[in-house]
């Protein structure tokens, strides 16, 4: 995950993003999914708090 270069040379390089072609990408996908879902849960909790406060 931290030693993530997919290339050893720029000559003829294709995908150059970190962890390209390795399972490290899946970790970032899981993180991205979590970072989408957690704020929605946070929003629901915040809205519920406002609703409870104001009847």
């Amino acid at each position: 995950m931290f030693d993530s270069s997919p290339i050893e040379s720029w000559e003829g390089a294709g995908a150059v993003f970190n962890s390209a072609g390795s399972s490290g990408v899946m970790i970032w996908i899981v993180i991205a999914v979590a970072l989408c879902i957690i704020p929605i849960i946070s929003a629901i909790r915040h809205e519920n708090a406002i609703e409870n406060e104001h009847g």
Binding site: G14, A15, F17, I29, C36, I40, A43, I44, E47, I50
Partner: protein
């Protein structure tokens, strides 16, 4: 320089200009969202202004990662003729899974990133269309879910059906919708209708006898300026509906500009008809209402009524269709309101109804035009009617079903007491802290 070297230089220049074209078209499309945000904030009362803005910003933000994670894949998985089940074995569906080499910086692939970006902005547009109709009473959390649904799932499946050259509507019915009257505007308008039925009206919108009260927004000038900025953005949107004539691998694009189906067209065709539809919509709405809100909504309506056939209309026809859109929208909005549905900005009328007019107009007036490839039926009224039904139901059903579920979970609608207080109670800053107050209609 050898002929091969010369060819390599030409290809490199063409690919770079193709990237630049979609990059700037994408940037221009951000104006759609800036405009929708102004429009919706202007249409909101003072106590709801920032909630409307936050809702719009978040829709845009959530659609980008979700479209990366699954939206772009859905387009390619529904572009090979399947109606309900995605085709995961399709070549580009395999290439565009979010963990593939094509979904990130890749020195051998100059097209994927900019095409993806343009489609992200199309997606965010679908959510912005729905966004205005539900202002002042939808909960932001539910809105994020619904925006993601319409922007990263619903419309892109419809695009696979009716925009991809291999989609079932195109391949089986010759469906023609180059400017997205159906795949974006009908889908979004009818999705909004499904949501509005479950969401219910704003507090104070209807009286006990069923008559409606106007709930005017706090800034008509902001609304009108926002609508004009949306128009600017649609030049990016419609320009990005074309395929740039770069020598991409396996493409016949060397021949010149192509429409979304791979058929021949050019920017001039889109320029003639976008502007003529735009003007017709304004004049039609002015003729009926004299109201600047409807005039600028008419500008959008005019473009959408012409959108499906932007590559083929005689400009006078596009003008007449635009005029028709401008005339129709206030009446359609009045009819929808008479059903007890509170569409705060007329999105169902402007996008849903005018998208429908645009799709059917192609069937009525452009029947018989040959399509881009052998074996694909020519344009026909039947094909456009099938497309219109698919787009109407394809938008309405998911919007209705998912908003029904959210309503049953108790997270769809802001309570009446918070509505009376102002939905901005959920926002930690005030829009106009010094002196502006909402009139109380409740």
């Amino acid at each position: 320089m050898s002929p091969e070297e010369l060819r390599a230089v030409i290809d490199a220049a063409a690919n770079a200009s193709m990237e630049a074209y979609y990059w700037w078209a994408t940037g221009l499309m951000v104006c759609i969202h800036a405009g929708f945000m102004m429009y919706e904030m202007g249409q909101s009362r003072v106590r709801n202004v920032l909630a409307s803005g936050v809702k719009n910003i978040l829709a845009f933000a959530f659609i980008i990662p979700t479209f990366f994670l699954f939206g772009w894949w859905l387009y390619w998985a529904y572009g090979t003729g399947n109606i309900f089940i995605p085709d995961a074995s399709a070549e580009f569906a395999q290439y565009y899974v979010p963990w593939s080499d094509g979904m990130g910086p890749n020195l051998q692939d100059q097209a994927s990133g900019v095409f993806w970006a343009a489609f992200v902005l199309f997606s965010a547009t679908t959510a912005s269309i729905v966004s205005g109709s539900v202002i002042e009473r939808i909960r932001i959390s539910s809105w994020i879910i619904l925006a993601t649904l319409v922007g990263s799932v619903v419309w892109i499946i419809a695009a696979g059906w009716g925009w991809s050259a291999g989609g079932w509507l195109v391949a089986d019915w010759g469906y023609h919708d180059v400017g997205a009257a159906g795949v974006v505007h009908m889908i979004s308008g009818f999705f909004a209708l499904g949501v509005l039925i479950n969401l219910g009206p704003r507090v104070g919108r209807f009286n006990a006898d069923g008559s409606a009260n106007d709930l005017p927004g706090h800034s008509v000038p902001m609304t009108i300026a926002g609508l004009m900025i949306i128009i600017i953005g649609f030049f990016g949107f419609l320009g990005a509906c074309l395929i740039y004539p770069a020598p991409m691998a396996g493409s016949s694009a060397d021949a010149g500009w192509l429409n979304i189906y791979g058929g021949a067209t050019n920017l001039s065709a889109f320029a003639f008809n976008t502007l003529m539809g735009f003007a017709g919509g304004i004049i039609g709405a002015y003729f009926i209402t004299k109201d600047p809100f409807w005039m600028m909504s008419g500008a959008l309506a005019g473009i959408f009524c012409a959108a499906a056939g932007l590559d083929l209309w005689y400009p006078g026809t596009a003008f007449a269709l635009g005029f028709l859109g401008g005339v129709v929208i206030p009446y359609a909005h009045k009819m929808i309101t008479s059903w007890g549905i509170d569409d705060a900005v007329g999105a169902v009328s402007v996008h849903g109804v005018c998208g429908l007019i645009g799709v059917l107009a192609v069937g009525v007036l452009l029947g018989g035009y040959p399509t881009h490839a052998e074996g694909i039926p020519p344009i026909s009224f039947t094909g456009q009617l099938v497309g219109a039904i698919a787009m109407g139901l394809g938008g309405f059903i998911p919007g209705y079903v998912v908003s029904w579920i959210l309503n049953k979970c108790g997270i769809l609608r802001t309570s009446d007491s918070v509505q009376k207080l102002g939905v901005d109670a959920e926002i930690p800053v005030a829009a106009y802290p010094e002196n502006m107050q909402s009139r109380d209609y409740s």
